[in-house]
Amino acid sequence: MTLASMARKYEARRVPQGEKVATSAMIASLAAEGYDTVSAPFGHALVDLAKTDERVVGLSADLAKYTDLHVLATEMPERFYQMGMAEQVLISAAAGLAREGFIPFATTYAVFASRRAYDFIAMAVAEENLPVKIVCALPGLTTGYGPSHQATEDLAIFRGLPNMTLIDPCDATDIAQMVPVIAAHDGPVYSRLLRGKVPSVLTRYKPDYQFELGRAQMIREGGDVLVIASGIMTMRALDAAELLARDGVDVAVLHVPVIKPLDTATILAEAGKPGRLVVTAENHTVVGGLGEAVAGTLLRAGVTPTFRMIALPDEFLEAGALPTLHEMYGLTAAKVAQQIKGWL
């Protein structure tokens, strides 16, 4: 249970007057961030791939519309399987298709893959090292629906699983480019997904940016602070870097779209440069995600800069409007900037 709300369950609330903030709910679109957007990058990239590779099929557990897989379902219906709301057979069946030589892309929300279908992913998919690609919407804190839909620990869950490749994409470029790359990778993949109108972030800072498996990339250089970020937090870190630049703080951002296998060489090289505060930033609990993976990497190699983590607390998070929650849990650009300043 969400302890903070539990304590106040029997306290009546005042009805606020004036402007009311709505829960930005399921259709959690991160569009209003000041970046250009691309519509359904995953669905369109998958259709492009399916046209060139007969083995590619798509499956969803009653969430095709909400994972952009409806693009495949509409354009190539013969390549799409509606599995109904049954996440366990979604994964088992994907494993079966993979055994018969297909490359299945299975979609649901991140919570339902990581929690309900975990055993099936572990044994039917990962232990057999099958090329099943599990692509999941609503990663971390990207909905105001409360813990039932907030996948705050998905990366921690899957990091413990041998053979898995884990992806936390930042934007439309990452998503569109990773689709053929993960299909070509002969093994299981779990990727977080941003859907709907997805911002284009990385190419604004690095026009020649290309997603690569197992590679972290410097998106912005800076001499005072190194932020090592993944997913939407790379976007927030880049925005925070702009804010901090106004205060004369020079922030570098290293984007780590692949959480496992981690690009330890780049991380050690960058974190080993003297004189920078090293901060990790992730849309995930502090437990077992990017931050702890980086911390372990640094410590094992004897690289010990001043190190801080920006991540979600080890709690079940509240329900409410998404912008309020990002503010509350420190994921906005302003909060990222403020935290970094406090550590300097």
């Binding site: 709910a25 409410g320 409007a321």
Partner: protein
């Protein structure tokens, strides 16, 4: 509530309203002043997204204050979009991860029997949840443990997130499935209040120690013809100027 958010699960709420009305104002024993009273019949909302419907009923039943309905889905509200036990008086469980309610209901029914408490456990679930394996584990478990104090209510609106339930996993004889597992099963028109009330009575009157299910065929957006006629999806769109029109239609249709 829906108007405040400009959205909400309005179609589901209108469809299931008759079932909830019969549950709270005919079938259930409860004490609005003491939502956690030990003698109450337990009512589990497995389908968290239907919370909007339950909030309205909890308000009518005197458990939630009417003015707070306006906070639905807002920051610091006691009425989040997806129902949670930790937020709302009268909400027994945290739903939303679908396919949980019936299993929890099995355990509560077992617990009540152990305590010698004669209360019933009701679990309200959806046709989408008929697809979850966990539902069928609970179905078998309830028979094994002879849970005559368990009544499962299924809102069969033939809708789920991607389309019709009868085009997905609910393609069989849904009532026959439950019967084959050993349940006392009924299937009735969930928008015919007399039939709904009679089904609740029949379910409670079964003397054998077996669990009971009522499958309610319901119509999304029931009672607002211009919404019923719309293309029905999991999220029914309602334009800003339509909320008051819908309310007016509902007001007109109220039995006097």
């Amino acid at each position: 509530m829906g108007e405040v958010q400009g959205q909400g699960y309005i179609g589901q709420a209108l469809g299931v309203a008759d079932v909830l009305a019969a549950a709270y104002f005919h079938a259930l024993t409860h004490d609005p002043k003491h939502p956690e009273w030990e003698g109450r019949d337990r009512f589990l909302l497995s389908i968290g997204h239907y919370a909007i419907a339950l909030y309205a009923v909890l308000m009518e039943a005197g458990i939630l204050p009417e003015d707070e309905l306006e906070t639905y889905g807002m920051d610091d509200s006691r009425m989040p979009m997806s129902g949670m036990a930790s937020y709302t008086p009268g909400m027994e469980i945290t739903g939303g991860s679908l396919g949980h309610g019936l299993g929890i209901a099995v355990g509560m029914a077992m617990g009540l029997q152990r305590k010698g408490n004669p209360a019933f456990v009701y679990n309200l679930m959806s046709d989408g949840e008929l697809g979850e394996g966990s539902t069928w584990e609970a179905v078998m478990s309830a028979v094994q443990h002879r849970l005559g104090n368990l009544i499962c209510l299924v809102d069969f609106n033939d809708q789920q997130a991607d389309g019709k339930s009868t085009a997905a996993l609910a393609q069989g004889d849904e009532r026959g499935k439950w019967e084959a597992f050993g349940w006392h099963a009924q299937r009735v028109n969930g928008n015919d209040l007399d039939a709904v009330v009679a089904a609740f009575d029949a379910a409670r009157a079964v003397t054998e120690a077996k669990p009971r299910v009522i499958i309610f065929d319901t119509t999304m957006c029931k009672g607002v013809p211009f919404l019923e006629a719309r293309e029905i999806t999991h999220f029914v769109r309602v334009e800003a100027d339509e909320w008051s029109k819908a309310l007016a239609v509902l007001e007109e249709g109220k039995p006097s």
